[in-house]
Amino acid sequence: MSEQPQPGVAQWFDLVQESIVVRDPAGGILAWNQASARLYGIASEQALGRPEAELLGSQYPQPVSEIDAILRETGSWRGEVQRRDAAGRELHIDLRCSLLRDAAGAPLQVVETARDLSEQRRTERALRHSEYRYRNLFQAMAASFWELDFSAVGAMLQRLRKAGVTDLRAHFAANPGLVREMMRATRILDVNEQTVTLFGLGDRAGLMDNVEPFWAESSNHTYAESVIAAVTGQPHYVAETRLRRIDGSEFDGLFTACFAPEAVGRGKLLIGVIDISERKRAYAELERSESRYRNLFQAMAVSFLQLDSSGLNKLFAELRAQGVTDLHPYIDQHPEFLEKAMEASVVIDVNERSLKLLGAKDRNELLGPVTKYWIPGHYDAFRGSIEAGFRREAGFQAETRKRTVDGREIDVLFFVTAPPEMRDNGIVLVGNIDISEQVAARAAVRQMQVELAHAGRVTMLGELTASIAHEVNQPLAAIATNGEAGLRWLGRAVPDVEEARTLMQRMIADARRAAEIIARIRAMSLRRPPEPVPLGLNALVQEAVQFLQHELRAQQAQLLLQLAPALPLAQGDRVQLQQVVVNLVVNALQAMAQADVPRRELQIETRLTADREIELAVLDSGPGIPGEHFDKLFESFFSTKPNGMGLGLPVCRSIIEAHGGRIAAGNREGGGARFAVTLPLPAAG
């Protein structure tokens, strides 16, 4: 049941710029306007009466039955339909269908308007395609590298020289065939993946012979110039030139040859080619990959993060525009800048080692702003790194504590590598070396030193026990003896009170002497914090010597004291410094006894040095210190004594260093060792 539109309407119908087709519900075409004829390339006469789907090869996004059902139910349908025009070209059509019903409500006609989306779709597809290429380029290292063997070319050049050719440039220009021959003699040893992609279009096998196929005929000159550069000892040669892919298509490339002397000597050459259309980005990428490679190579076992610092660069630029020249005072005034800078420093790549160190299962956990790695209150290292960056320094390193993504805190050596040209490209490399163990070890060592200082004192006491026992026993024996004698005098028929009084006075003196010895021992074995007081070093030496009197006598050592008169007071802990003197003297005595030197002389000197420091030296006439021992002398558990613990000197050193002084070992000119302790004068006031 078809009905032609009215003639007036038909005119109007043809004026509409949009394609309008009227069909019956089964698909037979009832009306076809001019715009439809233009769109499909089919005249109205050829279209009328034909089934539309067949005429236009329509492909609908859903089954026709479904579209019909929607039409019946809602009265309209819209969707994208693929059709073909008279020439067979594919068309993408935005189709709108509306249903006309008769009085009873039964479907009568379908009016279709069509808008051509083909151009739009083609553009989109082209865009997608170029984006795909773009992404591919981006992902690959954008430089093609070739390792070449040109030893055969070298032989050819020698023949030319023998033949009397002096002007190579002119000779090559005159003999293009020779240049092509040299290209064929340039063998390919190896190429990288990018070369396979760029020249071989994915096929590596075709790339492994010689370089001739890859030079466009127009590029003979460039090849010739690179050969001339090589033989005239240039370090490298760079030129833009026309190159050829394996399928014969040509492109513009930036050709770089490096003539490293050691490689050239072996007839080897490294060539780099960059697709010049992508030159700018590729160049940055080359630098990026090279520096990344170089740095990664140096730091294999190190956690390594690549940061995109372009955001930070922007912040820096803003500050410079504001006239900021030094970041340090600026951060003092704007501490919040640190967190801004962290947000602007974004991790974009990490190495394998970082996963382990930073507690990540997946590399993606590590990407993003560096903020998560920094512990509030531990920003110093980050601050130092950006301050160095602001000063355009190429590197920075510091020990710091960082947070891992699994919530641990680790001590790391944090270092930043960003040569200015890299930083300008927004690339900053950050390395982290786990030093938790070292830091823990250092803490343990400090703890151990405290223990050792105590153990050292106790050990020394052990070594001196015999002397001490003797020292204490003397007054004890005297007291008992005097007491017994006193009793005898008092027990006489006529008690001799005077004798008893004398004896009692002696007893009191002896008891005092014993008490002093005991006090000294107790002070030495006590583990207590140092008590710095002003003290005279000369008096301290004399006390120590008294303590050692018996030892000196037992070793039959002669003691010589050379104490500077009017020596300024030092600041220090009396017991600890006494311990140092005693230790040095005992060491000297033992060294002389061990070597069994016939003349045992011990000298203790004090003086004020030219630098206004107080020096105390202990000198002996022993064998001196063998050269190989100097380095180890102050290390714990290093001992030259058969039963030595090796604690004495390290303890001495830690005591002296705690006093802000130094201890040094040396040998005397005439033989024997000299240990010198230097203490600073207390600050005036």
């Binding site: 015999a466 026992a469 003797h470 026993n473 003397q474 007054p475 004890l476 024996a477 005297a478 007291i479 008992a480 003896t481 005097n482 007491g483 017994e484 004698a485 006193g486 005898r488 005098w489 004798e499 004398t502 004896l503 002696r506 003196a509 002896d510 002497r513 006598r553 037992a554 039959q556």
Partner: protein
Amino acid sequence: MSQAAPLISIVDDDESLKLALVGLVRSFGYEGRGHASAEDFLASGDAGQCACLVTDLHMPGLGGIELLQRLRADGNKVPAVLITARMLPGLEQRARDAGARCLLPKPFDPQTLMRCIEQALPPVS
């Protein structure tokens, strides 16, 4: 005729103990004379006169045992008591071998020392 009190010679480098020992023997009625070293004692000539010698073992220069060895080598058989602050293994044997009556570690009981001295003296006739 009252006999002169027997001379007890004391050799010790510790001044206070030497004085105490001299005082002790004097309180027991003997004559006491102290010497700060074995060399002093030998030089004093007391070696030929004393009835008993009390000497320290460890002294700078000649030690107690060496002193005793030298006296014995000269044929001097004076009874000797050794005192020492350091009781080392084997010392007792060495003291006996050198001809000492007693070896007493310091600090000693003064009464024990006096018993040693009195036992060493020749019986009073």
